[in-house]
């Protein structure tokens, strides 16, 4: 797997509303090899504050060796990243981690994203469409403002999209998982990313019936498999841990201990 440590020029900064931003970066090396759910480690501040890089999934690819990151301000690192300007360079390490595996050749494919978990699913949709598969997309968020731009982007790709918001301001009033029971039983593969309780509900819904891959988040110091900081328990074993940056971030739903 080729990996790069590289300074990438920011070519677009979009404020999508609420605390959500999207950066478009010139990163030809990474763009050439990255696959959906792989992530990059980004330096957000000065060279030593915040000290550690922040992991972000690649949100999408664009012509000309460009990649996009979609993120939300949740702390110091993302707050600094939101101040990035066009023309500035950002240091990236990546692409890292294991990607979503391709769906089986037949059957419908469904993507279920909650909050910023939507980020890698857009790239996955791009990739599936290149392969002639049209995924059904279910997106959930707190409120309409977090979804409007993304709905449009998925529409432009040509994917059917169903929405839900907790406050009812767009689409179904409630949780995105409440849209699952309406899924056709032709769905053969489901990909999900979002808050853990959401993914847990999706995993439960899929059970043994539907192949389900999830993309997980943990705190990471290196993203390279070196620090062993990103451990999560292996189901049924008290003496073993996965390392999310290496074995993941994508796991089969059955490989994860759900709350």
């Amino acid at each position: 797997m080729p990996e790069f440590q590289t300074n990438c020029t920011v070519v677009q900064v979009e404020h999508l509303g609420a605390d959500i931003f999207r950066l478009t970066l010139e990163a030809p090396d990474i763009a050439e090899v990255v696959r959906p759910a792989q992530f990059v480690m980004v330096s957000c501040g000065t060279d030593q504050d915040p000290l550690l890089r922040r992991p972000f999934s690649v949100h999408g690819k664009q012509a000309g060796g460009r990649i996009q990151l979609l993120f939300k301000i949740v702390g110091r690192g993302t707050a600094l990243l939101a101040q990035t300007r066009v023309g500035q360079d950002l240091s990236l390490v990546g692409p890292l981690g294991r990607a979503f595996r391709p769906p089986p050749p037949t059957g419908e494919v469904c993507l279920v994203g909650g909050g910023l978990g939507i980020a890698p699913l857009f790239f996955l949709a791009q990739r599936l469409l290149e392969q002639g598969r049209i995924p059904l997309v279910l997106l959930g968020a707190g409120s309409a403002v977090e979804l409007r731009q993304l709905r449009q982007d998925f529409h432009e790709l040509g994917c059917p999209v169903h929405l839900s918001t907790v406050d009812g301001s767009l689409g179904h009033h409630g949780l995105v998982t409440e849209l699952l029971p309406a899924l056709s039983d032709k769905v053969g593969k489901l990909y999900t990313c979002g808050p853990v309780p959401m993914m847990a509900a999706v995993a439960r819904f899929c059970g043994d019936r539907i192949a389900c891959e999830v993309s997980l988040e943990t705190h990471m110091a290196c993203g390279l498999g070196a620090c062993l900081g990103c451990a999560i328990p292996v189901p049924g074993r008290s003496d073993a841990y996965w390392h999310v940056c290496k074995h993941g971030p994508v796991f089969d739903a059955a490989e994860v201990v759900w709350p």
Binding site: A221, C222, L224, C227
Partner: protein
């Protein structure tokens, strides 16, 4: 700027006891995995040595998560010495490391003096293992969990036992969580250590004020990174004056300037730790910068500036 030809290249080689390294830049244990993790981003053969994640006799699963937390210019870790254990290390990790051609230093850890001795025995004949680094910051299970590195007699006992069995030079890695690190250093030197490396992490803590729980499942963890550099440098300086065996500087080294501070303070070599996480090319940059400094100051060799602090 002056142009130097190859003949002007400063000599970066160093001797750590019987161990000869092409250059003084190594990777600190636990921050570089087993080497292969960085192969995509770095030319491993350019390193002075690779020090691998601490190895115990049996595999260890480590602590439950969360295991790491960022702090001001530093990080806390409570990995809990997760490692694949000696057998898997020799079978799965050494073959790759051997073919890199870079000297490999195996960091060893145990719960008892016997475990350390046994590790040294088993590693004695292993091809490609250039030296052992003994991590004495581990708790002594027999003696009520006090760290070997907190008590000169206990540290000396470990070192003597390892030296008796070891087939390679023995570097002893000191803990900074002590009142008098020079005392520890002398105890370990007297017990036969070939070299010293310091510092290991300082014990620290962080609390989530909203959940009111420690941010690490283990409650406390080891502080590393640029934050600790001034403490590490002071300790290296003290120890370099207190002993006559070579000293290896560790603690917050991220740039060539950092490394040169340690070398001027008396370190014969350095280890880059936490910096590998946020700058995977840190070791290479440190090495290039040391070369550039020696040229700029018209120094023929690294050797010429070790301990070169005035005043």
């Amino acid at each position: 700027m002056t142009i130097y030809n190859r003949a002007d290249s400063p000599d970066l080689s160093v001797h750590i006891g019987a161990l000869r390294l092409a250059n003084p830049v190594m990777t600190a244990s636990g921050t570089f995995g087993y080497g292969a993790e960085f192969a995509g981003l770095l030319d491993l053969s350019s390193l002075g040595a690779i020090i691998v994640k601490g190895i115990s006799l049996a595999p260890r699963a480590g602590n439950p998560p969360p295991r790491i937390v960022e702090t001001a210019c530093g990080m806390l870790n409570a990995i809990g010495l997760e490692n694949v254990g000696l057998e898997r290390f020799l079978k799965e990790k050494m073959p790759y490391l051997r073919q890199c051609g870079t000297p490999v230093v195996v960091n060893i850890l145990g719960d008892s003096v016997d475990e350390y001795a046994l590790l040294a025995t088993r590693l004695a004949g292993v091809e490609g293992v250039a030296a052992l680094e003994v991590n004495i910051s581990c708790p002594n299970v027999r003696m009520g969990g006090v760290a070997f590195g907190a008590e000169p007699q206990m540290a000396a006992a470990v070192v003597r036992a390892v030296k008796e069995q070891a087939g390679q030079p023995v570097i002893v890695k000191l803990s900074p969580n002590v009142t008098d690190i020079a005392l520890m250093a002398r105890a370990v030197e007297d017990a036969g250590a070939d070299a010293l490396s310091l510092i290991n992490t300082l014990i620290g803590m962080a609390i989530d004020i909203h959940t009111r729980r420690p941010k690490l499942a283990n409650r406390t963890g080891g502080l590393s990174g640029p934050a600790i550099k001034p403490i590490a440098l002071r300790m290296v300086w003290q120890v370099a004056q207190a002993v006559s065996i070579p000293v290896i500087g560790i603690g917050g080294i991220a740039t060539a300037e950092d490394a040169l501070e340690f070398i001027l303070a008396g370190a014969s070599a350095v280890q880059v730790g936490t910096a590998n996480f946020y700058n995977p090319r840190a070791t290479q940059e440190v090495l290039d910068g040391i070369s550039a400094y020696l040229r700029q100051h018209h120094e023929p060799s690294l050797q010429a500036i070790i301990g070169g602090l005035h005043g």
